[in-house]
Symmetry: C2
Subunit: 398 residues, 2 copies
């Protein structure tokens, strides 16, 4: 339903420098502009020479050549190797003109400028030819790849000081609720500290977005509307929490719906927990209005917001990490609603972990958050999962 209305495409690209590429997403295919290595290189320490000069050389019948110079790493060789000549060379140094092979130092003995070669080499032996690692024009990396040390190494090898990557989605995070106070302030009577702005901001970072903290809006409709409007102007995605349940102070849905077209596209989701969740679209910017309950908010973030932020950042769809477990107890679904049961995994003797439900029934329970490893998905038409039944647990993207 949501994926039909929101088609999240990468938001654009920017050129950034090599040292900032970690975990970014490549926006264009990378074609090598030159051969790598850009010249024939020796793969050993030894002597560059003409292979045909070594034919017939044996341990007890060496062939004598004249040493006519030295090839160093990083320096264009000045000598040209003629028949009967050899050039001392180290690993990685360019092969001098005229030479077509390298004999290893262990197979030789040099006395002054005379070299005795005790074994033969064939053409190209111990030579890494120009372009054998990467040929000019070869596509070495593909748009959409997530860059880490390995890919960044390849970009460096191509000399690319800057690379085009997708921009990072900006995600505005707003908390609402008459009872919510910002951490760090004194806690007034009847209030609790805001959790969601912080847990959701951390989750946004994990999804590959940049969270923009907008603060807590208690009960002023005007201030909340201004905050959401400003968030829409400065961010690509807006996530609110609280203010969407059935109570009398539910400000968020009417405000969001008044801000533009198409407005609310999903009003309430038939799952537990998370039912009072709305998804809106103002122009092409999604607004996710999550429940105030911290565990529900984070679960709905995981299920709805995380995949959208990944897509906006150009990352491929993630395969949810599921593990097999055994139900530690009978788990009931909420009547007629698909139910996500938060569970903690404990190792048992059978090899499978046992999944024990973590208390979520109590509105506002925050320890649920810290204790859960993942959730069990119980279908709407399934009354319960039996104790000891084999189940799948989806690990929460921490």
């Amino acid at each position: 339903m949501i994926s039909q209305s929101i088609v999240p495409k990468p938001l654009g690209m920017e050129e950034i420098s090599l040292l900032e590429l970690n975990d970014r997403v490549l926006a264009k295919n990378i074609i090598s502009p030159f051969d790598i290595p850009p010249f024939n290189r020796s793969t050993v320490d030894g002597y560059a020479l003409k292979a045909e000069d070594t034919f017939g050389a044996e341990e007890n019948r060496p062939i004598r050549l004249n040493v006519c110079g030295k090839a160093n790493v990083g320096e264009p060789p000045k000598v040209i190797v003629a028949r009967g000549q050899a050039v001392q060379i180290v690993t990685g140094a360019p092969i001098p003109k005229g030479a077509n092979a390298v004999v290893m130092v262990e197979e030789t003995q040099q006395i002054d400028d005379k070299l005795d070669v005790y074994g033969s080499v064939t053409k190209d032996e111990n030579v890494m030819k120009k372009g054998t690692d990467i040929a000019k024009g070869e596509r070495v990396l593909k748009a959409g790849q997530i860059l880490s040390s390995k890919e960044i190494g390849v970009l460096a090898a191509l000399g690319k000081a800057k690379t085009a990557v997708y921009v990072v989605p900006r995600v505005a995070v707003i908390s609402t609720g008459a009872e919510v106070t910002e951490p760090g302030k004194k806690l007034p009577s009847a209030k609790i500290y805001d959790i969601n702005a912080y847990s959701i901001s951390a989750a946004v970072l994990r999804s590959g977005g940049t969270p923009i903290y907008k603060g807590v809006f208690a009960d002023s409709r005007v201030q909340l509307q201004n905050a959401i409007e400003q968030a829409l102007a400065s961010a690509d995605v807006v996530v609110t929490s609280g203010g969407v349940s059935i109570g009398s102070k539910d400000l968020v849905p009417p405000i969001v719906d008044s801000l533009g077209k198409p407005g609310i596209i999903v009003y309430g989701i038939a799952v537990k927990p998370g039912k009072p969740t709305t998804v809106s679209l103002i122009g092409n910017k999604p607004i996710f209005s999550l429940p105030g309950h911290p565990t529900s908010a984070l679960l709905m973030y995981h299920l709805l917001v995380h995949p959208i932020i990944r897509s906006l950042s150009g990352k491929a769809e993630e395969v949810a990490c599921e593990v097999r477990a055994v139900a530690g107890t009978r788990m009931f679904s909420a009547r007629g609603r698909r139910t996500f049961m938060m569970v903690k995994l404990k190792q048992n003797k059978l090899g499978f972990p046992t999944a024990e439900p973590v208390e979520t029934g109590v509105s506002g329970a925050i320890t649920t958050l810290a204790n859960a490893d993942g959730f069990v998905d119980i279908a709407a038409n399934q009354q319960f999962i039996e104790a000891n039944e084999e189940i799948k647990v989806t690990l929460l993207n921490r």
Copy 2:
């Protein structure tokens, strides 16, 4: 051997704000300074009352009470509930004094200030008692925990605007080599672009360190020595690459050994690739001098440097991620040396992936880096792994 000489302990702690905690490591146990919730709260929409006033209420025999006010979320209730009275209440609002239970709105009918209650409730029903989520004095998080959305949510709930975490290790990254040029500059004849400073810097970020790019030092002993000295002064760990092999221009080991005590503690490691690796300690700061070959450097980083940086940042030892696979071909070990064979995994019909070796023999091959999924560890006393043999592949920490 290395772990005997280097005892990596967290480097110290700093207080940082909630929005910057993601992926940091908690430096102290967290004890709750107050009860959560800090007051008794309603878990439903309904009426707060004395449970004993509802005893005997049934669907066809309601009990009538007087509505004497309203309890809102975020506001200390002004009324006190006496016998025969009820207070309208919404989910999350504080329970007014005198009340000890909440009857759900669905079980009632209000006409003007009269309330008919069609079912009885017991004491504490629909009430989340003060401190039932977290009790004052309870240890809710443990030093050493890596902080993500869930734990950050708990810290927010406690009102902690700042939290003590371990400092992030600073890792200076230096490239050496007469043939190496910085990306972005024109590539002179006989030179190649530096790879290692960039691939290693990205790997440091993944390990949880802050890379400090120090640049490329070609062949001046004085400049290289100055750079390493400055790196030691400004960083907690120094990683160099190149300049450690057997050739004549191997500058790094003697320089490092001259900088302080104990100096070089590991000179060469009997593995392939990676043999020309030295580990030094100047005071309590480790210096890792890795090979110049990009794949070898990154592999040695993974095996030696990554665990040290994790420990310095206070993170627990990581269990290497191993997968079972089938050898796609016979894989030989280097004579008498423990061999790490870089492999790519391909899905086959048996369910197991097949591990195909990725070319590493050629010095300087960079495509190896981008193509490998992990490595196979072949013991020094094992001549080869047979094709189709079941093996373990350690996935590379990307």
